[in-house]
């Protein structure tokens, strides 16, 4: 595929996404059932604990920053944290937002500013140098501020292990997700709760009461379904070429079984 073809495909892909985003927003995506993200079950309870015990929540962007290739991660997490912070606004202690990309400092402060107009809250958006220095600073913060829970959603590498280990030792529960594979693996192994892959972007939608957020999550769901079915069909076609045993009727039966399974899953929900 040459560059021009690739560009044309990109434009078509983005255009379809734009149409989907507006369609979903127009219908407010109310009719679209939100996926339940298992990893987020405990968040309301953490908020309650934070309110009752006057211990802050710790929200972490990691290295997600505006301007780099993980800008959308930073924006999506800002929205997610916004949803969390609004629910925690009756808490005495402002949540702590930490980050290691200085460009997301305004995002962090924005998250706090919307819910916390009390003095001193803005200084609770904290920057530390990236990677291991960040991890060690957060471990120190865990000792000093004793957060009620940690929501680490953003861009993390293996250094996430140090933070999660520290949190576990102090009995502070954690939710973690990263757009980097090493961070994601560590999150799966060590966090109390984990989101995986594009759940990072679905989280704001599933925690928000805003139709727009739901719309974005719905667009993600549509694309996800399209890509999974497309990949499955291509795979079947490939197999049908390789193995003479697999003829068209067999492929059709396979697709039908998959479709039935899909319908059954939706129905179960």
């Amino acid at each position: 595929m040459d560059d021009t073809t690739l560009q044309v495909y990109s434009v078509v892909f983005v255009a379809i996404t734009v149409v989907l985003v507006y369609t979903a927003r127009y219908f407010q995506a109310r009719r679209w059932r939100q996926r339940q993200l298992d990893g987020m079950k405990r968040i309301p309870q953490w908020i309650t604990q934070s309110i009752e015990s006057s211990r802050p929540l710790h929200l972490s962007f990691g290295n997600a920053g505006v301007g780099g290739d993980n800008t959308p991660v930073a924006l999506a997490e800002a929205e997610f944290f916004h949803q969390v912070v609004r629910r925690a606004e009756s808490c005495d202690m402002s949540p702590v937002v930490s980050l290691s990309a200085p460009t997301s400092l305004p995002l962090g402060q924005d998250v706090l500013r919307r819910a916390w107009l009390k003095g001193g809250a803005l200084s609770r958006a904290q920057w530390y140098p990236p990677d291991l220095a960040y991890a060690s600073a957060i471990s120190a913060l865990m000792a000093d501020d004793e957060p009620a829970a940690h929501i680490m959603a953003g861009s993390f590498g293996a250094e996430l292990a140090l933070m999660l280990d520290s949190a576990a030792r102090r009995g502070q529960p954690s939710l973690a997700v990263s757009d980097r594979l090493d961070g994601q693996a560590v999150a799966f192994a060590q966090a109390d709760h984990v989101l995986i892959g594009e759940e990072l972007f679905a989280a704001p939608g599933s925690s928000s009461q805003d139709g727009g957020g739901h719309g974005d999550a719905a667009v993600l769901d549509v694309w996800r379904a399209l890509i999974i079915s497309g990949a499955t069909i291509l795979l079947m076609l490939e197999f049908s070429k390789r193995l003479p045993l697999l003829s068209w009727p067999l492929v059709a039966i396979g697709v039908a079984i998959l479709l039935l399974l899909g319908i059954f899953t939706v129905w179960r929900r």
Binding site: R25, M40, Q45, S53, R55, D69, S90, E146, G157
Partner: protein, 668 residues
């Protein structure tokens, strides 16, 4: 749409709708309240030491006992009318005000906050024996609040003996930490044993040559070994001090390999600390060079270019405006380097700590490279993803991974250069060739050195033709011809009319020259469209040509990518009669050296119009390698212990989970 959503005014229209599970037929598709999951069962409390319960419950708490429908402290305070408000602490007052404001009218508010049931549900801690205070982990702020609450409700003061027993902060040491401490101690012990005694020689050392199945690293080595003096190599240091332990070795080896052949590394990075660290590696190379006064100098033997801010955007700038980037050094001074584009450097070498760095280089830089290959090395963490890029992109060559490959690389390099040194001394001092060993004993020609670094990357008009068996140089910049030769010169460019068979590369893409006539053989060198090589032989069916290379070696090139031609030697050398005429008043010097770069001891020719002081084996051979073997052994033992720890730990936890489930099943 742009209006701020007012969540307090938000009310779901279908509050009366039946419970989700009861929805029949199409009503399932009607709007539904987006609910966060309901409060799960008892939370797993932190493994803090148990705190003895308070001797008496605070009065506030006891009063609240019957009112469990008002579970939060805010709710409790909102109905707690007995005490005059002005006696309350400011904090409690503000909490009470907020609680009152948000609970009027309560029913509406609960309706408005769609997930309020979860949000303000009775916290589990209330059910904990010992009451609200002991169940939570208490911070300093909380302890102050406990004191405050006790003050308000008239509980015993801190001096009270019964209260002083309460242990509010976790102890320094807890029994639950024992497995952890044992695990850590065992891991540390096993990893440090090989440094103490050589008895713990578990595992094989890495091979002294890359495995024959691994063409990537072999090709990478071969390409770097084919550098000629005054080639420019862009070396990207994409790792910080965190990965120094793992990647310093390979970075240092690359630099030594490059400078030992008189090529010039241009160091660049999108990580500011890596730039400072690169300087330290250069100092390390300098420290290990035996004789004084011959250390690498910035602006002459190497260049450190300015920092590239903005991650992938910085790399984009590097690939599109390389001329600008190369103009300024990390100190902000001008380098005097003039390049047109990134294709003017001979190779781009990238050392990545994270998979993202590999991705950024593969996506932002590699597609902009028409002729120059990108040679990649990475740490173990980045290797799985980096390998995918190395395998799938033609522009990326090889992947040298981690410390083990660095060891192999060092072995190959040292075998090569040690051989070079030995051969040179065997040739004897009476030899006409410039002996590297001899050169090493003399101070180098400073004047020649001073001339070299300012060479532009664009070949000068009087490009020097190669020796008899070489292709036409197309990319290699040459130093200006100003020196009077002092070493013995071999006049080679004698134009003849003898006809020879050559192949000209016709493929528009880069063509790989391999060690043997199959695509499975290692790559020795890359060629561009228009390059010509003299044919030595062909394989059986004529699909591959055996060709002579510029460095005295021979390689194989696929027949479909080239066109066979018959040229006179003069045409082949000079690109036409005119060039051969120009050659007549120039003298070309050929230096012969010996190398073992491909497992065989072969002469190796450098073409030059000025005497070059030769390879400097010190740059390679004076490395301190004393810690390498114990370190490799430690890696093996450490990994083995980790495997055992992980397996053991998980078996224990899996068994205990099974037992727990079994017990729960019995209870039910």
């Amino acid at each position: 749409m742009s209006e701020e959503f007012n969540w307090l005014d938000y009310a779901e229209p279908d509050e009366e709708a039946p419970a989700p599970s009861a929805r029949p037929g199409l009503r399932r598709f009607l709007p539904r309240r987006p609910t966060l999951p309901s409060l799960p069962g008892r939370p797993r409390l932190p493994s803090l030491p148990s705190i003895p319960s308070l001797p008496r419950l605070p009065r506030l708490r006891r009063r609240a006992q019957p009112a469990l429908d008002k579970p939060s402290a805010a709710d409790l305070l909102s109905v707690h009318e007995e005490r005059p408000l002005d006696e309350l602490d400011d904090r409690l007052q503000s909490l009470r005000e907020r609680a009152v404001a948000s609970s009027q009218p309560e029913a509406e508010a609960r309706q408005a906050l769609y997930d309020v049931d979860e949000l303000l549900a009775a916290p589990e801690i209330l059910r904990k024996p010992g009451g609200v205070i002991s169940a939570a982990a208490l911070s300093k702020a909380q302890r102050q609040q406990v004191e405050l609450l006790k003050d308000i409700v008239g509980a015993p003061q801190a001096g009270d003996a019964s209260v002083s027993r309460i242990r509010l902060s976790p102890p320094l040491f807890s029994l639950s930490a024992i497995p952890r401490i044992i695990g850590t101690a065992v891991l540390l012990l096993m990893a440090s044993l090989p440094f103490v005694s050589s008895d713990f020689a578990e595992g094989e050392l890495p091979p002294s040559e890359f495995h024959e199945d691994r063409h990537g690293p072999t090709t990478l080595y071969n390409l770097l070994d084919n550098l000629t003096p005054a080639d420019y190599v862009l070396v990207a240091f994409e790792y910080g001090p965190t990965a120094a332990g793992e990647l310093d070795a390979i970075a240092e080896l690359f630099l030594r390999h490059i400078v030992a052949q008189r090529a010039v590394p241009l160091i660049v990075s999108s990580n500011p600390i890596a730039i400072a660290h690169a300087q330290n590696i250069i100092s390390r190379v300098n420290r290990s060079v035996a004789f004084s006064g011959e250390s690498l100098r910035h602006g002459r033997d190497y260049f450190i270019l300015r920092y590239l801010p903005g991650g992938p955007l910085g790399l984009r700038e590097l690939s599109e405006n390389f001329a600008d980037v190369a103009r300024v050094s990390y100190k902000g001074t001008l380098t005097g380097l003039q390049f047109d584009s990134l294709d003017d450097v001979t190779y781009v070498v990238m050392i990545a700590e994270r998979a993202e760095d590999m991705r950024n280089w593969a996506e932002q830089v590699a597609p902009q490279l028409d002729r120059t290959p990108l040679l990649a090395a990475s740490g173990y963490a980045a290797a799985p993803l980096a390998q995918v890029y190395a395998d799938s992109m033609d522009e990326i060559v090889g992947l040298v991974v981690g410390y083990r490959d660095a060891y192999t690389y060092a072995e190959m390099l040292e075998a090569n250069f040690a051989e070079l040194l030995r051969d040179a001394s065997e040739l004897g001092s009476g030899s006409a060739e410039a002996s590297p060993a001899k050169i090493d004993e003399q101070p180098r020609n400073e004047a020649a050195q001073a001339e070299r670094p300012l060479a532009t990357a664009v070949p000068p008009a009087s490009a020097i033709p190669p020796p008899a068996v070489a292709p036409l140089p197309t990319t290699t910049p040459r130093p200006p011809n100003t020196e009077t030769p002092t070493e013995t010169a071999l006049p080679t460019a004698t134009a003849t009319q003898q006809m020879i068979s050559v192949v000209e590369v016709t493929s528009p893409r880069q063509v790989r020259i391999r060690r043997g006539p199959t695509t499975a053989d290692d790559i020795l060198q890359l060629a561009q469209a228009g390059d010509m090589f003299q044919i030595i032989a062909t394989n059986g069916d004529g699909s591959w040509y055996n060709i002579a290379l510029s460095n005295g070696l021979d390689g194989w090139i696929a027949g479909i990518l080239v066109e066979e031609k018959a040229l006179s030697m003069a045409e082949f050398l000079g690109g036409g009669g005119e060039a051969s005429a120009r050659l007549s008043d120039e003298r070309v010097y050929l230096r012969r050296e010996w190398s073992l770069s491909l497992g065989k001891n072969r002469p190796r020719y450098y073409q030059s119009n000025a005497p070059i002081t030769g390879d400097i084996p010190e740059y390679v051979l004076m490395r301190d390698r004393s810690a390498e073997v114990p370190r490799l052994r430690a890696m093996t033992l450490g990994t083995l212990t980790t495997v055992v720890t992980i397996a053991l730990g998980n078996v224990i936890f899996a068994l205990s989970a099974l037992r727990r489930r079994q017990r729960n099943g019995e209870r039910k």
